[in-house]
């Protein structure tokens, strides 16, 4: 299991390949990556991601360990960036390795649901007109946790 909180760009392809090569006894690998998209009306210049350095790694590790235990994963990977990102850049990725695809898919969804609402990151959108707004947490993200 690996958790990385970083400001540097990561190479999704290389990470996915290395993760797959490291889990040859597993039949199912699921990967997900989140990308900064342009705001609905256009005009997004950057996404600034703040985090709580003393807590972030620990919180992500606990979430990942819960997934590993609950779905008997062979391995799990979580990479999450912070700092200033522009549209098209990858924010984060998760990867799960399991014997069968159901566990790998479910564990990846669990990781994503918990990362959204229980990992100490906050996003701010900087727009073309110079304004900047903190992204509000959505009720449906919080509600998504109840299914687990």
């Amino acid at each position: 299991m690996r958790v990385s909180v970083q400001d540097e760009v990561f190479d999704f392809g290389k990470e996915a390949e290395a993760f797959t090569q490291g889990n040859k006894n597993m039949g199912a690998i699921v990967t997900f990556t989140g990308v900064v998209r342009d705001a609905d009306q256009g005009g997004l210049v950057a996404m600034e991601i703040e985090h709580y350095p003393g807590m972030t790694h620990k919180a992500l590790s606990e979430i990942a360990q819960t997934a590993v235990d609950r779905w008997s994963l062979g391995d799990a990977l979580v990479i999450h960036r912070y700092g200033r990102l522009v549209p098209g850049e990858q924010i984060m990725m998760v990867a799960t390795a399991a014997r069968h695809r159901m566990q790998a898919f479910e564990a990846a969804e669990f990781l994503m649901d918990y990362l959204k609402s229980r990992a100490p990151f906050w996003k701010k959108e900087v727009l073309e007109d110079g304004s900047a707004d903190w992204v509000a947490a959505r009720d449906e993200d919080e509600n998504a946790l109840t299914r687990w």
Partner: protein, 81 residues
């Protein structure tokens, strides 16, 4: 103890971190003390439903005890992923 603020809570109060000696025994007691300090604190802590708290880097509740706690962090609901 150390008090940390993140995201708009940090912006509203105007600093990311401060040391504060409190006589409060719970998080809500601490919040009551902070609110009376200055208007910017009262504004930041006006609506607790918009806030979350972590004690020593673990998510917690407003009625939690501060006994033995060294670091309190206040922030809005998280938006990771």
């Amino acid at each position: 103890m150390d008090i940390l603020y993140f995201a708009w809570v940090r912006e509203r109060i105007g600093l990311p971190h401060e040391r504060f000696e409190t006589r409060a025994t719970t998080v809500s007691g601490l919040i009551d003390e902070l609110r009376t300090r200055e208007e910017r604190y009262a504004a930041a802590f006006a609506d607790l439903s918009a806030l979350r708290v972590a004690l020593d880097q673990e998510l917690s509740d407003f009625d939690a005890s501060l006994t033995g706690v060294r670091e309190v962090a206040f922030f809005p609901p998280m938006t990771g992923g």
